[in-house]
Amino acid sequence: MNYVIIGNSAAAVGCVEGIRSIDKTGSITVISDEPHHVYSRPLISYLLYGKTDREKMKYRPDDFYEKNSVTALFGVTAEKVDYEAKKVVLNNGSSVAFDKLLFATGSSPFVPPMEGLDTVPKKFSFMKLDDAMALEEAIGPQSRVLIVGAGLIGLKCAEGIRGKVRELTVVDLAPRILPSILDEEGSDMVQKHIEKQGITFHLGTSVARFGAEKAELKNGETVEFDVLVLAVGVRPNTALAAEIGCKVNRGIVSDEHCRTNLDGIYAAGDCSESYDITEDQYRVLALWPNAYMQGETAGIDMAGGNQLYDKAIPMNAIGFFDLHVITAGSYAGEAYVTRTEDTYKKLITKDNLLKGFILIGEIARAGIYTSLIREKTPLDTVDFELIRERPQLMAFAAPERAVKLGGAKA
């Protein structure tokens, strides 16, 4: 059996480990346009922050490919898939034959047209290790950095470089930061915390035009800068899949086995869509754990095993300057909110289920909440008043605790 994986990140590693849990001998080829051993993408900001290094940010040990008998092609791009001939054509002129193929191609930065952008000499995306290293080269203690985008990637970048530059400004069209994972109150709290680090925000506005070392904003203000980071948004890399007739919405459509509509072709990770059980719809869930688990599911299925990826939910653990934020699920429903000066907690329930939560500052044992969402635990089977106060196993009925802690069979 010939397995081929396009991409070499979370979904690809999940797929390799999924295949090898069943098929120890089939040939696996990984095609990676990045020239690096598999690394943790989220760590590129931690690298600049000084919390990890090139060695530690390797997602798997140096012997990962060898131990799993994987042929890894680094710095090679898959240019085209020939579905009829069952081969992937590479940019180096050669091709690789496959019986089963996984798209684990992730996403690429999306840069909307902006006036004068091509006149900015030092501009960067913040998606790859090479981006982070190039950015590090470009900045210094006197740098004034402008980041366009107050989402997860833009703000993680801001945290990573804050200590290395003189001025740091973040601009976003949205009226508040991290709008995809926080509510207004939460955004406000995290923004204030980040502002204390000397980071300036211009929200609800965008760049009208870039000039020499300055950006004129639509709200009339001007930001002077010498290094620009664009973190406006990302787009799933779906072109190769679309070309051969895979169904593509925003991401490549794949089912709970991570199969696409084409026989033998799979998709996992940021390039694909998952069925979000809290929204009851397919959507791109661009998160590391989802990518790994989808990849693993695909790998197991490719090798003839059986695994379902049917409990996908949006979820995030993210921190800025030691303020930790954990969120999961969706936020439409009845809210229960508690707030102190430096903590915030919101639980959202609907139809006897926990649908989502936001925890800021106090995050202990958050996974107990996450599991209520993922397992769709009816809230009338737990002591919700108790668990609302604090995540705890005491809130489950005694027989359920015996399963969880006593080894009783479910």
Binding site: W288, A317, P391, M394
Partner: protein, 143 residues
């Protein structure tokens, strides 16, 4: 595989397991020095209320969500034991987001996480919490 299992009705809620855990993981061979007047950060934690007590530590899951979710690869399965490489961990708390038992927690310094590794990572040899439990409310066995 042998795991730590709870016999809930025998638990006195005495918290000895927490102290024995903190001591076993302190790297110190004098219990008084290790624990006196310091806030302890045990990897096993007692839940108490309404006359019910029980200890919670990592279940060493067969399908460990923490390992699958860890963004750095710091969490891994080593002969069935779920191990955290604290040198690799960056304290993103994704594992805390996903662990259904609330069994991973920030360590004493806050920067990285810690969890029960069944005392395979210290000199205790076998789970110190179980060794010291006066009432066999936690046991280390196959079930």
């Amino acid at each position: 595989m042998k795991r730590v299992y709870v016999n809930e009705k025998w638990c006195l809620g005495c918290h000895l397991c927490e102290y024995n855990c903190a001591f076993a993981n302190s790297g110190c061979d004098d219990m008084v020095k290790a624990l006196k007047d310091v806030q302890i950060y045990p990897r096993i934690q007692i839940e108490q209320g309404n006359g019910i007590n029980f200890a919670v530590n990592c279940r060493h899951c067969e399908e460990p969500l923490c390992v699958k979710s860890c963004i750095t690869g710091a969490l891994s399965v080593q002969d069935g034991v779920i191990h955290v490489d604290q040198d690799k961990c960056v304290g993103c708390y994704t594992c805390i987001l996903v662990c259904p038992y609330g069994a991973v927690m920030p360590g004493p310094t806050g920067g990285v996480v810690q969890k029960c590794e069944l005392c395979t990572n210290n000199s205790s040899g076998e789970p110190a919490c179980v060794k010291g439990c006066p009432n066999r409310a936690i046991v280390f066995e196959e079930r």
